[in-house]
Amino acid sequence: MKHLLSIADLGADGIADLLTLTDSFVEISSRSIPKVPVLRGKTVASLFFEDSTRTRLSFETAARRLSADVISFSVSTSSLNKGESVRDTVETIEAMGVDALVVRHGCAGVPQQITSWFEGSVINAGDGWHEHPTQALLDTYTIRQHRGSLRGLRVLIVGDVKHSRVARSNMEAFTMLGASVTLVAPGTLLPPNTKSWPVETSHDLDACLGDADIVYLLRMQQERQEDALVPSLREYATDFGLDRGRMARLSPDALVMHPGPMNRGVEIAADVVEDPRCVVIDQVRNGVPVRMAVLFLLLGSNSHLAEAHSGEPDETGRPKGSRIDA
């Protein structure tokens, strides 16, 4: 596999393999020096046309822990730069000698477009409303950690599905691994046509809540109110927000998830965040090893990983974990 643009690129087996690979990197992350030289000499560039400190930090941390060099590009999204050529930017970065590009863009499809201008690997770190595959992978990993498997689980994805790349990637990944997914939102926040999607849809959270195993809440943005997609955030919170009352009706081993950043008091009540069933912090924690696994899958070779695990010296003759890059 050369690029990771969408969950479909991996397929069910690919996801399963990647989650297994992630176990190794979780173990490495728990070491006192959580670093392995498996991508030494490789350069990973993050190219973010849209601000996202969390995702960028997570990817860059993952790359550094694999001993890759990291270049960070931030392209302002001011209206002045709106028409700037993505191709020019990409070709400039390529000329610096980069093996992988981690791309975030506000428009769907940009990572795919970039693959025709860039020799190396392209990783989609979120494109418009389209996909955010590494988020889905870390979510899937988190669910697997808590529930063992996704097979047979009933997942609700609640909120602004229409504008959500997270929802599209997660819907794909969850159903591939055998979960059943229901999208729960007011009519204005569902995509216009989901006939071919392997999901149910509902406009009634309370009707779905009782037998849910996972409640995946999406971020509800202020601008949806301004665009008349909901009459008010208050009304949205009343019907679709996860509050203490709804929490009480969830089963004891259910999980509450959110891709962050959370709007407390809108899609999630502040005290729900404190509930042990809310695993948001695990999602964040799993982000780094999952992204290590993705980078390794695209750029590394298995012999490197075997070395990292055996604790044998790498080609520099030093034991694993002894290198700290500059």
């Binding site: 050529s85 769907a108 499809g109 477009q113 996909e131």
Partner: protein
């Protein structure tokens, strides 16, 4: 100018299909049509059809203002290679074609072009939808076709006035049907594919609501009008009913709307971005049928050149539009189930009447008519390649596709501007 004889071909026009040679006189008119004619320079036409030159109701020549994408000259070269002897330039230039001075400039630039260049003008100043352009003044300069193409006229009352005023002048009002309140912020057809791809969509109803309103306004005013680039099944059904009800409504459809669907956007390649957007398979089939039955009387190209850099923007940000002049004929030949005479009617006779230029274009091929002719080989296969096209831009959605049917010669006002597929100047 020398005499020409187009020899060995099969003439196809409104009079029918027959084996005939065509002699073009030194004055640029047809001197004779018949068997075994001779005289002057010979254009070999064995195995070819000899038809009235094609007429494109919908060409973006980009001049003035966007000469990096196309000029009137380069656009006319593309037209000639595509078998077109006349094009109607769209007014969404910079500045807009909405005043006598810009109309004069375009007509002046069109004089040395390789086909007849007619220009439309905007319905409203700057295509802003607020005030009518000086239609009477512009019609006296020769403008017969008014459109705000790129946008529909949103205001109901202003649209009514435009129809009433134009009717008095005997000029055509043509509408780009799109209710902007529904389409704004959408970059492809809204449906299964837009939902999956995460690209904001514009619903078919954005087009259909304006078709519906304009049919009502046509009934109200009694004015004739023309619908540009219809793209949905719903639009076709309304236009069919309105025509059956006796309204003077005509319509065009583009080659891409009967050959491509929104599934093509899955590549995220902005070469497939166009307005109105590529629709569903159901719509594509409906457009083809409407061209077959004549509900839609004209095949148009909506030839819309864009510089490479513009089509390398993210899909949402890239400008809409695709090339069409050099690929229309083979697509109409192979993708529609039309009789030859019907095909020629949709490519030439129909659009010539709608543009009000059927005195010199659109056939039939008879003695005394101006010699605007297309001679094409229906079996010649070739591979579409944007870089090899005469257009200044290369944004063809058919890149790499094998096409059957190619223009061999094009004769404009008696001058052979294309001979054996080569431009002559």
């Amino acid at each position: 100018m020398h005499e020409l004889v187009i020899r060995g071909g099969t003439v196809v026009d409104a009079d029918g299909v027959r084996r005939a040679d065509v002699v073009v006189g030194a004055d640029g008119t047809i001197a004779a049509v018949g068997e075994n004619l001779s005289g002057g320079r010979v254009l070999e036409a064995a195995g070819c059809y000899v038809t009235p030159g094609f007429v494109d109701l919908h060409t973006h020549l980009r001049q003035p203002g966007r000469e990096e994408a196309e000029t009137i000259e380069t656009g006319s070269r593309a037209a000639a290679l595509g078998g077109y002897t006349a094009v109607v330039a769209m007014p969404n230039t910079e500045p807009t074609i909405d005043s006598a001075s810009v109309v004069r400039e375009v007509l002046e630039l069109g004089k040395p072009a390789l086909c007849d260049v007619y220009t439309s003008a905007a319905i409203t100043i700057g295509r802003q939808g607020d005030r009518l352009t000086p239609m009477a003044e512009l019609s006296r300069l020769g403008v017969r076709f008014f459109t705000d193409d790129g946008d529909g006229v949103q205001d109901d009352r202003l649209m009514r006035r435009a129809l009433e005023y134009a009717a008095g002048l005997g000029v055509m009002i043509a509408q780009h049907c799109e209710v902007s309140a529904l389409s704004e912020g959408g970059f492809m057809h809204e449906g299964e594919w837009s939902s999956r791809l995460g690209i904001p969509g514009q619903p078919a109803e954005a087009e259909e609501l304006m078709v519906m309103r304009d049919i009502a306004l046509s009934r109200l005013t009694g004015a004739r009008m023309h619908f540009q680039h219809l793209s949905t099944k719903g639009s076709v059904e309304m236009v069919r009913a309105a025509r059956q009800g006796g309204l003077a409504i005509t319509a065009e459809a583009t080659t891409h709307h009967f050959t491509l669907t929104d599934e093509a956007v899955a590549s995220y390649d902005p070469v497939y971005k166009v307005h109105p957007p590529l629709r569903t398979e159901i719509d594509r089939v409906a457009i083809g049928r409407a061209l077959g039955e004549g509900t839609i009387e004209a095949i148009a190209t909506d030839h819309a050149p864009h510089a490479r850099s513009a089509k390398e923007l993210p899909f949402d940000q890239a400008p809409p539009g695709m090339l069409g002049l050099e690929t229309a004929l083979p697509l109409a030949l192979t993708e529609l189930e039309l009789e030859l005479t019907e095909l020629v009617e949709r490519m030439s006779g129909g659009p010539a009447r709608i543009a009000g230029i059927d005195d010199v274009h659109g056939g039939p091929i008879r003695k005394g008519r101006v010699a605007n002719l297309c001679i094409f080989d229906p079996e010649h296969t070739w591979t579409a390649d944007g870089a090899a096209m005469a257009s200044k831009s290369a944004n063809t959605p058919y890149q790499g596709r094998e096409l059957r049917g190619r223009v061999r010669h094009t004769v404009v006002s008696g001058e052979p501007v294309v001979i054996d597929g080569e431009l002559q100047r």
